[in-house]
């Protein structure tokens, strides 16, 4: 307005003078014959036009109109600027998803922009120009949004049509709010996507009991609204999706995907790895998400099984066919298989999509070689691609080997066992029956357990069992020295020849035997070596997935809720997680795999819980020595041990008989409320006086706080230990704390 005025002020005199001059000239030229135009200037002084006002008015109108038009244009440009900026940003961010959908998008794109333009009234002309770019920018992202839906054959063709209609509708109302149009349009476009399919929930945490085949809670992200309800395809993909890259493996819809070359399949829950953590997660997911479809992909050839019996119970079995049946008799007489569930529990991977109530499918013998986090899909070693909504990485690890053995050549490697899997158990069992001497390198859990197991066997055959390690005693890195020494004596009693403080310098194959040269000069001749020197967590997928690997502990780095990225969790041996109480750690125990697998499964179904329930572990070294432990149990920490004298009743055997279960961790988690098995403790054969460390409790301290507890030959007290660690309190007198355990009672 002001501009107008100033412009008018400057222009008006000019207009007037020019008009005056024109008239003057005209009159002078044509009409006047010598008469002077004396009266003219005076008459035209004021702004209000007088006689010659009509022309003045015309000029006023003309100039006025130009000013107004210019002002409106300027106003719109400035307003539209922020709009265009937003469009540009959105366009850039939606680019990665444009891969398949550019082409189908463009032909249909031309329609909607064409539609509004004739529909729109002509003023204001600039609006159409501004809106058109908005639309074209909108469309790709909206199209991508709906086409990025993995289980392709969603109700999306209908939805795709709807957003287009929505767009057109949106554009109609005068773009007096172009700023609003963009988010409004996208939101609206999203609504049809979400609303059209009644089975989809907008919020991830909502778990819906679905009557129809499963639908997953979908994260309502703008660029990737992953719709997933697996309605049996068969929707004729409208012109909207000729290039549908993802197809339901089960629903063989004829809508082939010309754009992508492979037929890919989809699963809502993908678990990479087929071990304990994976199985626990599968169980958790199935319990919490009714009708869930879970796919486990493992490179092993067998379904999920538990590992502890491979180095313990299976060796004590009387059954000669144990390597085939893999069944073991627990101390209480109950027999079970190492497999968590028999094969009938699982459904076929091909049937997963169509199973009415969902299920768990195991794809054996397949290795995941590539993980595309952006595209939410993985690739197998046979080039199959599988897309997922939520993924768990539970790849565990591979046994470490000694460098000297790796460099020693084929002959030595042939006679070395790295013990972890079922096939390792089978082969070692065979070896142990055919050779004269086995050497176990490593003094930790696995090494000591195998040594005891083989040592037991050595009493029946004339097998020589040697165990060597760099520490001073068995479990040297776990138990305080006095206890480690005591344990070593027990292991020796099991028939094992112990060589402690042994560092292997070289291994050579000579005359069909292996010669192990130690750094201090000792020479050990043996037939077969078992290397139990640790586990290397399997982080092969870290590179392709772009996931962080922890440099201190190894493994994938995840947060307290076991999450690595959105929709990706890691559990079990491979997870380096943040323990709220004890700090960042990585745990390689069976119960931890169960607990973390279960937690990951809960979080994959929206629980958002951190690692809180502390896992425990246990070890038995023969029938006399058994302990349960929890927390950080590191022999480098200061410890306080409170011991009582042991009676014959305090043995692992009696403990399991009493609780009625076989696996120790089971005794506290899976013990049902059925009547407990009557305790059949044998009558005490007399108190052993020599045994100073018969039974007791050992506290591990860090900055005066108890961070770890070992229950030494004291059983079924784990809940108390867990409570003490959870509290994280400083206790002045640990003897008082030890009283809570009633170590003298049964």
């Amino acid at each position: 307005m002001l501009k107008c005025r100033t412009v008018w002020r400057t222009l008006a005199p000019l207009a007037r003078t020019s008009s005056t001059v024109c008239r003057q000239n005209a009159r002078r030229a044509g009409l006047n014959n010598g008469r002077l135009p004396a009266c003219v200037p005076a008459a035209h002084m004021s702004t209000a036009p007088a006689g010659g006002g009509r022309e003045n008015q015309l000029y006023v109108l003309l100039v006025g109109a130009t000013c107004v038009g210019g002002a409106i244009y300027a106003y719109r440009t400035v307003k539209g600027d922020s709009q265009r900026y937003q469009d540009r940003i959105d366009e850039i961010s939606s680019r990665p998803l444009k891969t398949f959908t550019e082409e189908p998008a463009t032909p249909t794109q031309s329609e909607p922009p064409a539609a509004p333009s004739p529909a729109e009234p002509s003023p204001p002309a600039p609006d159409a120009e501004i809106l058109a770019p908005i639309e074209t920018a909108d469309l790709p992202s909206v199209w991508i949004a709906s086409t990025a839906d993995e289980p392709a054959v969603e109700a999306s063709p209908q939805e795709a049509a709807e957003p287009a209609a929505a767009l057109i509708v949106e554009e109609e109302p005068p773009a007096a709010e172009p700023a609003e149009a963009r988010p409004g349009v996208v939101a609206e476009a999203d609504e049809p996507v979400i609303e059209a399919s009644p089975e989809e929930a907008a919020e991830p945490p909502v778990v819906e009991p679905e009557p129809s085949p499963p639908s997953e809670p979908t994260p309502a992200e703008l660029t990737e609204p992953v719709a997933d309800s697996e309605s049996p395809a068969a929707e004729s993909a409208a012109a909207a999706k000729p290039a549908e890259p993802q197809l339901e493996a089960v629903t063989e819809s004829g809508d082939a995907s010309p754009a992508s070359h492979k037929v890919s399949s989809h699963t809502p829950y993908l678990l990479i790895g087929g071990g304990t953590a994976s199985f626990a997660a599968a169980r958790s997911i199935r319990a919490r998400d009714p009708g869930a479809r879970v796919l486990i992909v493992t490179d092993e050839l067998v379904p999920p099984y538990m590992r502890p019996p491979l180095s313990k119970e299976l060796w004590f079995s009387d059954d000669p066919s144990v390597t085939e049946t893999l069944r073991f008799k627990q101390w209480n007489g109950k027999e079970r298989s190492i497999y968590f569930q028999p094969p009938s529990f699982y459904i076929n991977a091909e049937e997963l999509g169509s199973a009415e109530n969902g299920g768990v499918a195991v794809l054996t013998g397949k290795k995941v070689v590539h993980m595309d986090v952006r595209g939410n899909k993985i690739k197998l070693d046979d080039d199959t691609e599988i897309s997922y909504d939520k993924c768990l990485i539970a790849t565990g690890g591979v046994p470490r080997n000694l460098q000297v053995i790796e460099r020693a050549g084929e002959e030595v490697m042939k006679r070395t066992t790295l013990f972890r899997k079922v096939e390792d158990f089978k082969s070692l069992d065979k070896v142990s029956r055919n050779v004269k001497s086995i050497t176990i390198i490593g003094g930790g859990f696995l090494g000591s357990e195998l040594a005891c197991a083989l040592g037991r066997r050595s009493t029946e055959s004339d097998l020589e069992v040697i165990q060597m390690y760099p520490e001073k005693g068995n479990m040297g890195k776990v138990l305080p020295e006095y206890l480690s020494n005591w344990t070593t004596e027990k292991v020796k009693k099991e028939g094992v020849k112990i060589i402690s403080e042994a560092l292997v310098k070289s291994v050579v194959s000579k005359d069909d035997k292996l010669e192990i040269q130690l750094k201090d000069g000792r020479l050990v001749k043996t037939d077969h070596i078992v290397a139990a020197v640790g586990l290397e967590p399997n982080v092969d997928l870290a590179k392709s997935a772009g996931l962080e690997v922890d440099s201190d502990f190894g493994g994938f780095r995840v947060n307290a809720e076991l999450q690595a990225r959105s929709n990706i969790w890691v559990a079990g041996d491979a997870a380096c997680f943040y323990d709220i109480r004890l700090g960042r750690r990585r745990v390689e125990h069976h119960d931890h795999a169960v607990v973390s697998g279960r937690l990951a499964g809960e979080n994959m179904t929206g629980a958002n819980k951190p690692y809180w329930h502390q896992s425990m572990f246990w070890s038995d070294l023969g029938p006399d020595v058994g302990y349960e432990a929890i927390g950080i149990v590191d022999s480098s920490l200061p410890t306080v041990g409170v011991f009582a004298k042991a009676t014959a009743k305090d043995t692992p055997k009696a403990a399991t008989e009493e609780s009625g279960t076989g696996i120790r961790s089971e005794s506290e988690t899976e013990h049902t409320a059925s009547s407990p098995v009557a305790s059949s403790a044998p009558s005490p054969t007399g108190v052993q006086h020599k045994d100073e460390y018969g039974k007791g409790v050992i506290f591990y301290l860090r900055d005066k706080v108890v961070v770890g507890i070992i229950l030494w030959n004291v059983f079924n007290r784990m809940p108390i230990a867990r409570k003490i660690i959870k509290d994280g309190e400083e206790h002045a007198d640990l003897n008082e704390v030890a009283k809570l355990f009633n170590i003298h009672d049964d």
Partner: protein, 155 residues
């Protein structure tokens, strides 16, 4: 009397039964019954069933998981005098499903009965159904008879 020994950084205490006879003076932090992080037993504080309770084993997650959940839910919320008497249909469906997977759902009562009976006479399917159903009733009821404090929960 208790004796104490120090071995470097490790302290060893030997105690007799009498030493530990007096109650402990150690203070434990009070439990919060509504702690959202805690592992729960079979019944959540809200009264709902915790299907992920380890005590259920694989019952809620197996092939018959849906039928099991239906039956157990019906039983749990049943207000009849004989609890669950209005849920017979659900239990029958569950029973049928479980019979399709004998490997997964071994009927233990049935086994015992079979062993007791002569090995020649095979129990009719009706017999086995009844036995197993009774077994299920008993198993479920056991959760309710047992006081909550004895259910497998974290401390």
């Amino acid at each position: 009397m208790s004796s104490v020994r120090e071995e470097g950084k490790d302290r060893i205490i030997f105690v007799t039964k009498e030493d530990h006879a007096s109650p402990s003076s150690a203070e434990l932090v009070e439990e919060d019954p509504n702690d959202p992080y805690e592992e729960r037993g079979l019944i959540l504080p809200s009264g709902e069933i915790n299907w992920n309770c380890p005590c259920l084993g694989g019952m809620a997650s197996g092939p018959c998981g849906t039928e099991f959940k239906d039956a157990f839910s019906c039983f749990h919320y049943s207000k009849e005098e004989v609890k669950g008497s209005d849920c017979l249909e659900n239990f029958r469906a569950m029973q049928e499903c479980m019979q399709r997977y004998p490997e997964l759902y071994p009927q233990e009562d049935e086994k015992e009965q079979q062993q007791q009976q002569s090995s020649e006479t095979k129990p009719t399917s009706q017999d086995s159904a009844e036995t197993s159903e009774n077994g299920w009733w008993r198993w479920l009821l056991s959760f309710y008879k047992t006081p909550a404090s004895l259910w497998p929960t974290a401390p």
